[in-house]
């Protein structure tokens, strides 16, 4: 156990604390990561699970739960329009800034490897 924690720290120890918080708070699957990148690149998207799944090239059943969880955690906004449930990126500029920092950090290979390890290990 002790050895595992040390190994975890070796991978995630250098991550900026704010980015680590972001990882812990929002990124517990690669689908979520993928969706975050999609919303970062297309920040004014507002659509249903089915359409977002289509845009992301994913299966709606897979995406549905992930979108709902991101909305519960505050990264996305969930709105009910009659019979439709739609998702959009949260308008909060602080959350958008955090997302931008995370996506920009992901461009760095070292950070990406650490973050991937973090997601696989399910945080610590």
């Amino acid at each position: 156990m002790e050895r595992e924690n040390l190994a975890n720290r070796a991978y995630t120890g250098d991550i900026d604390p704010e980015l680590l918080d972001f990882l812990n708070q929002y990124v517990d699957s690669f689908i979520k990561w993928d969706l975050m990148r999609f919303f970062f690149n297309n920040p004014h998207t507002i659509d249903t699970v089915d359409n977002i799944a289509r845009y992301a090239g994913r299966n709606p059943e897979t995406v549905e739960q992930e979108l709902a969880e991101l909305a519960m955690r505050g990264l996305l906004e969930e709105t009910h329009m009659g019979t439709l449930v739609v998702y959009a990126l949260a308008a909060d500029p602080e959350i958008r800034d955090q997302l931008a920092r995370f996506i920009q950090a992901s461009e760095d290979r070292q950070f990406r490897i650490r973050a991937i390890y973090h997601v696989i290990k399910g945080g610590y």
């Binding site: 690149n41 297309n42 920040p43 004014h44 998207t45 507002i46 659509d47 845009y55 329009m81 739609v86």
Partner: protein
């Protein structure tokens, strides 16, 4: 009574065809074959407005917003910067969500109209509404409701629509959306590919403009480094909209001499 100021498109030569631009709060249809310049003309209209006191929205049902940012940058239009300055927003959505949004009180689009002072909208493309129903009457009602909701918000709207023919004389089936839209909109502009001497040229014509005079010539246009530029009318040829025009003399001979 003084005439209302037009919504200038900023497309050199095109505003003259429209006698100054689109009428404010009007619905305008831009139809053409894939790749002939509909979205570029639409982006030019939105860019001109955003940089001349009329913030705009681009509502995309097909392309990703990042494609608009990239394509616009190719013409020297910085859409990301305009978004940062709240003069533009590129929204990706679907017809059903947009319809539901416009139907509810103080929806997202209405909110942007009041918060950003949005005056223009590009809907790219209206063809996606066809996915919502197979019933032509229902489709016409849907389109009518959508156009009226945008008018209610005070927007000058430009709708692109795919024409599923590359050149004008190909056979096609009855097109319900075209017949519905051409009645519902205030103006109807067509872009066409034209083959002349083994080269493809582009043509533009204003077929209809409710409440205004307009140029009735079929003109050539080019897509240059800064967007569309409308040029002179095709001279000495006829049958332009067929896609394969002929010299007038040839037509004369065919009609009268070779009988």
């Amino acid at each position: 009574m003084q005439a209302e100021e037009r919504a200038v498109t900023g497309v050199p030569g095109f505003d003259a065809m429209l006698r100054g631009g689109f009428l404010p709060r009007s619905a305008n249809l831009l139809e053409g074959a894939p790749g002939c310049g509909k979205t570029t003309l639409g982006m030019q209209f939105i860019h001109y407005g955003a940089t001349h006191g009329e913030p705009g929205l681009i509502l995309t049902f097909e392309q990703f917003p990042e494609q608009y940012y990239r394509d616009a940058a190719g013409f020297g239009w910085d859409f990301r910067e305009l978004e940062r300055r709240r003069l533009l927003q590129v929204i990706m959505s679907s017809p059903e969500v947009t319809k539901a949004d416009l139907e509810r009180f103080n929806g997202r689009i209405a909110g942007l109209v009041s918060n950003m002072g949005v005056k223009r909208i590009l809907v790219d493309s209206i063809s996606q509404f066809e996915r919502m129903t197979d019933d032509p009457v229902e489709l016409r009602n849907l389109l009518h409701g959508f156009l009226n909701a945008l008018r209610r918000e005070g927007l000058t709207a430009l709708f692109t629509r795919e024409a599923y023919v590359l050149l004008g004389d190909e056979q096609r089936e009855e097109d319900e959306t075209e017949s519905s839209m051409s009645f519902l909109v205030d103006s109807y502009v067509m872009l066409r590919y034209v083959e002349i001497e083994s080269a493809i040229h582009r043509a533009i014509i204003v077929l209809k403009m409710r409440g205004s005079a307009h140029d009735t010539h079929i003109r050539q246009f080019e897509i240059g480094p800064h967007g569309l530029v409308v040029q002179e009318p095709f001279r000495g040829r006829e049958g332009i909209l067929s896609g394969t025009p002929q010299y007038m003399a040839e037509s004369f001979i065919k009609a009268f001499v070779r009988r």
